[in-house]
């Protein structure tokens, strides 16, 4: 079984009867090329869908999975397919910012000086009490990501 097919099977795709309820209620599909039903069917047939840009247009709203009459975990399928796509370097490069932020500050959205100012004015700690202000803890967080190989994976350094 190829990895795409495996991802599909891991999220119950074999139960899909192609009824279309997922695509019918997909808020993103109305704006994009994302067709959950077709995507799921392609994955079920083992087609390599990891290069399709619409894989990244799912807002993970779970409308489809929630209402799927057959219990196919469509969103999990997409997430698993994204994981495969990332291994092949197929993903929107703009996300690299968030990835670097996470690695360097522990936060996907880091603090800006402007917001720090607002925080101080309204009586919050100017800098939040999180890992970003605890260098020792931040090192541990980086170490975790080093072990899981997150950065190399995303940067494409991992073999």
């Amino acid at each position: 079984m190829n990895p795409v097919e495996k991802a599909a099977r891991d999220s119950n795709v074999e139960k899909c009867v192609q009824c279309g309820k997922c695509t019918a209620g997909c808020p993103s599909g109305r704006q994009s090329r994302l067709r959950t039903r077709t995507l799921v069917q392609m994955a079920y047939q083992g087609e390599d869908v990891t290069g399709l840009p619409e894989l990244w247009d799912c807002t993970t709203c779970y409308n489809c999975a929630e209402r799927c009459p057959k219990g196919v975990n469509t969103v999990d399928t997409i997430i698993l397919l994204r994981n495969l796509a990332v291994k092949k370097g197929n993903f929107p490069k703009i996300h690299l910012n968030a990835v670097e932020n996470l690695y360097n500050t522990g936060n996907g959205f880091p603090l800006s000086p402007e917001v720090a100012q607002i925080r101080a004015i309204i009586g919050l700690d100017k800098e939040p009490h999180d890992v970003s202000t605890a260098p020792e803890e931040l090192e541990k967080v980086k170490r975790i990501m080093d072990i899981t190989g997150f950065l190399e994976l995303v940067r494409g350094d991992r073999k």
Binding site: C19, K21, G29, R37, N63
Partner: protein, 843 residues
């Protein structure tokens, strides 16, 4: 000599079992005669058995083939021709062995152990006699829909007396509510009307309307059913159905009514009234407070309907005949028959064509019955003096057989993505009322919110069906009835856009595909796509689907949306499943004892099913069921006595100490403690064996499934294979679930070997512990689901015993986890496998 007969079952057994090896191994024992047949159930196979019994003077027979649930009766009859039909055992080496085991070698070894168990058990068997039980020739049919009525007529025509019990005020069920029916577009009422009348008039049928079944007791051939009939508060024989009492001036603009209304009872014609004030004076004299008051001489009296008690003195005494009755009963409530579309009075008949056409009063809303006022409206107007005070009536009816025809209802999709709360989202059955000439709009398709004729109608298929969240199964009739309703709408209003959103269009049936073809020709648009959500846009609706054939999401605008709602077991069906009790399938409908070869028989002898209580199905299949049931009942009741095998318990008076424990545990009042000795009443005994588990002196014993029989079965198995988990499975559920698993070719460890018991509650603590003393690895018990024991509570009682036995095993150092009880229904093959695997992994 014991004759051991091995069946190849073609390749079903032989394909995964080394038959030669079995023969070789079994032939090593001196007192066994071993034969093999390719199909033992065939005439040839049966002849072989009979010939061998005669030639070799066999005193026991062991059949090694399929499940006794499958061909047990065939072999019993065959063997019974030559010897007592209880001197044989069956080893289930197909469903529970060759089909359930991956590896041929393992299957062979397991088969050998199962056969050895059967051989050893067979040595303990005793001859069992028969008793004759009187049969009551009356039949009860529960449910007066199309299936129940047709069954009642067919049975009554065969000369049996029938009680037809119906919870509603009228018979006819859901079919009465339909406009037309597929695939012929016959008017439903025209089709059913003669059947309604025949049922009501039949000299052999007693129709009990407004009646619920409270309890069923007794045994096949002699059941006692307790029924409770709610009062109509209108004398059944006196009422002529004239309808004077329900006279009304209400004209509905839109077909929905959500709240009760209180209308004026009288109207004063201004052109006739001379303002004499007589009405107000008379009213004040009779009533306090008065409903009519006159402000000043010469003025027309003011009327307050909420004070009016309907004495009609004003009408009678007005010198100018200026006061007219417009509503005898002022109370208007949504009509149940019309599913809330349309209205009825507090005194009403469900439908103008209802059978019986007898009025009734609703005690919740009738002003007199609910104590609001001393209302005399209908009582004084009725010439037949029919409105009356009545009490509930409880009857105990004795019948020989029962037909359950309690039907379906629609799944309640409130609070889901289908937006059923919107007035213009309706169900298929509601649409039937909207297009029925006797419905609230007199057959004119008006949408509920504003009474407008919709220009865009969307049908939504599989609303709740084929959906793990609601009803997992296909409701079978929706493709066709939606097509039918779409055709009717289109035929009446060709200008209306009619769209059907479907997943798969299922048109399997006589004339169905052609009917569907015609629908497409008529211009009905079919879109292959399930609906995700229905959005309200004022009175209009937006339906979100996908045209899956074009790969495009779609937003359909609609004026009216019709949901093809899933069919689910009716409340009546669910009630009887618990009351009788009956075995429900995973879908909640009543499961037949065998879906193919006994489709109208339930697991309880003498109780049959017909119609949609069994599964969703079209009218024609309900009729077929009803005919089949009538035939089964005629066979069942044909003799004056039923022959019952005495596989029951019996008491040895020499050691019985009359402690009464058996009487205490018996759920069927089958122990006679009145005489000199305690005795088992054979016809009452259900042979569950629970009594045998509580007797302190072992004085009470089941004739079949005796202690020694079960012990020897275990011995035989373990002699051949110590790597065994003994699974005591109740013959009602656990055993069937294992058969089902085998039939579905689900594999599980061959270590699990089943010993069949009548009820899990028959297994004693010593029987749980015994296999361990013989080297077994574990013991499991397969029981019915809680609340669904066929002997009422055997599995609940067994639970306590298992808990105790677990403690003993802990103390013995074996470990309580090596014993477990699993609640598994007949339908849960996968759960049996899972339980078996769980057991093996911990032993």
């Amino acid at each position: 000599m014991i004759g051991v007969f091995l069946c190849d079952c073609g390749t079903n057994i032989a394909g995964n079992t080394d038959m030669e090896y079995l023969k070789e191994e079994l032939s090593k024992e001196d007192d066994l005669i071993v034969h093999e047949s390719i199909f033992l159930c065939s005439q040839l196979g049966q002849d072989l058995i009979k010939e061998t019994i005669e030639k070799e003077k066999l005193d026991r027979v062991v059949i090694c083939s399929c499940s006794p649930k499958h061909h047990g009766d065939i072999f019993k009859e065959c063997i019974g021709e030559k010897m007592n039909p209880y001197l044989w055992e069956m080893a289930n080496i197909r469903e529970q062995c060759s089909w359930a085991t991956e590896n041929k070698n393992e299957a062979t070894q397991k088969a050998l152990a199962l056969i050895k168990g059967a051989i050893e058990a067979s040595r303990t068997l005793q001859e069992i006699g028969q008793a004759k039980v009187p049969v009551i020739k009356d039949v009860m049919v529960i449910g007066g829909g199309i299936a129940g009525m047709h069954a009642a007529i067919e049975i009554a025509d065969k000369g049996f007396h029938v009680y037809l019990v119906e919870q509603n005020p009228n018979i006819g069920g859901n079919m009465c509510k339909l406009d037309r029916t597929f695939p012929t577009d016959d008017c439903s009422m025209c089709t059913i009307s003669p059947i309604l009348n025949e049922t009501a008039m039949h000299k052999n049928i007693d129709v009990l309307t407004m009646t619920d079944v409270e309890d069923v007791s007794g045994h096949p051939g002699e059941y006692t059913v307790t029924t409770r009939s709610r009062p109509r508060y209108v004398d059944f024989t006196a009422c002529t159905g004239c309808g004077d009492c329900a006279q009304t001036d209400l004209v509905m603009e839109t077909p929905t009514l959500s709240e009760p209304l209180w209308l004026d009872r009288i109207k004063i014609h201004e052109d006739l009234c001379n303002g004499c004030g007589a009405c107000a004076k008379l009213c004040a004299k009779q009533n306090d407070p008065p409903a009519l008051t006159q402000k000043e001489k010469g003025a027309i009296s003011d009327y307050d309907t909420r004070k009016c008690v309907g004495c009609w003195v004003c009408v009678e005494k007005c010198p100018k005949k200026a006061v007219e009755i417009i509503n005898v009963c002022p109370i208007v409530v949504p009509s149940e028959f019309n599913l809330g579309l349309g209205f009825r009075k507090a005194i009403y008949v469900p439908d103008s064509q209802a059978v019986p056409l007898k009025y009734l009063r609703d005690p919740e809303t009738c002003l007199q019955l609910n104590g609001t006022m001393e209302c005399q409206g209908c009582t004084t107007i009725c010439k037949a003096k029919a409105p009356c005070q009545e009490a509930e009536e409880v009857r105990q009816l004795r019948v020989g057989a029962i037909v359950v025809a309690t039907g379906y209802e629609q799944y309640d999709l409130s609070g889901t993505e289908y937006n059923l709360e919107h007035p213009n989202v309706i169900t298929g059955l509601e649409l039937e009322r909207l297009i029925s000439p006797s419905g609230p709009t007199l057959g004119e398709l008006k949408r509920p919110s504003d009474g407008k004729i919709p220009q865009r109608v969307v049908f939504v298929q599989c609303a709740g069906s084929r959906d793990r969240r609601y009803a997992e199964y296909c409701s079978k009739i929706c493709c066709m009835y939606a097509t039918k309703n779409a055709r009717l709408v289109k035929a009446d209003h060709p200008e209306i856009d009619v769209t059907i959103c479907y997943i798969d269009l299922r048109a399997a049936g006589r004339g169905y595909e052609e009917y569907y073809d015609q629908a497409r020709e008529m211009g009905i648009k079919y879109i292959r796509g399930n609906v995700s959500e229905i959005l309200a846009d004022g009175d209009e609706l937006l339906v979100r689907t996908e045209n899956t054939l074009l790969n495009e999401p779609l937003l359909l605008e609609a004026d009216l949306v019709v949901l093809s709602t899933a069919l689910v077991p009716s409340r009546g069906t669910k009630h009887l499943i618990e009351t009788i009790p009956l075995v429900p399938g995973k879908d909640g409908f009543i499961a037949p004892v065998h879906v193919k070869i006994a489709p109208v028989d339930t697991a309880t002898t003498g109780i049959f099913i017909a119609g949609t209580a069994e599964a969703p199905k079209p009218i024609q299949e309900c009729i077929t069921d009803a005919g089949a049931v009538a035939s089964r009942i005629a066979t069942f009741l044909k003799d004056d006595q039923l022959t019952v095998d005495l596989v029951t318990s019996h008491i040895n008076p020499d050691i019985c100490i009359k402690c009464g424990e058996c009487n205490e545990i018996c759920n069927y009042d089958a122990i006679d403690t009145e005489g000199e000795n305690y005795e088992v009443v054979d016809v009452a005994c259900h042979a569950c064996g629970m009594c045998t588990t509580v007797c302190p002196t072992n004085a009470i014993e089941l004739r079949y499934y005796s202690d020694i029989q079960l012990e020897k079965a275990v011995d035989g198995i373990l002699e051949k294979d110590k790597d065994s988990v003994i699974a005591y499975c109740c013959s009602q559920c656990g055993y069937n679930a294992a058969d089902l698993a085998g039939t579905a070719k689900m594999r599980y460890s061959p270590e699990v070997k089943i010993v069949r018991v009548p009820c899990s509650g028959r297994v004693t603590i010593p029987q749980m512990l015994y296999p361990f003393t013989r080297g077994a690895k574990g013991v499991m018990i397969g029981a019915c689901l809680e609340g669904q024991c066929h002997y009422i509570d055997g599995n609940i009682k067994e639970k306590d015993k298992v808990a105790l036995a677990k403690q003993v095993l802990d103390l013995m150092g074996i470990g309580g986890e090596k014993l477990e009880l699993f609640n598994i229904s007949s339908a849960e093959g996968a759960k049996f496998v899972e339980s078996a695997e769980r057991m093996v992994s911990r032993c």
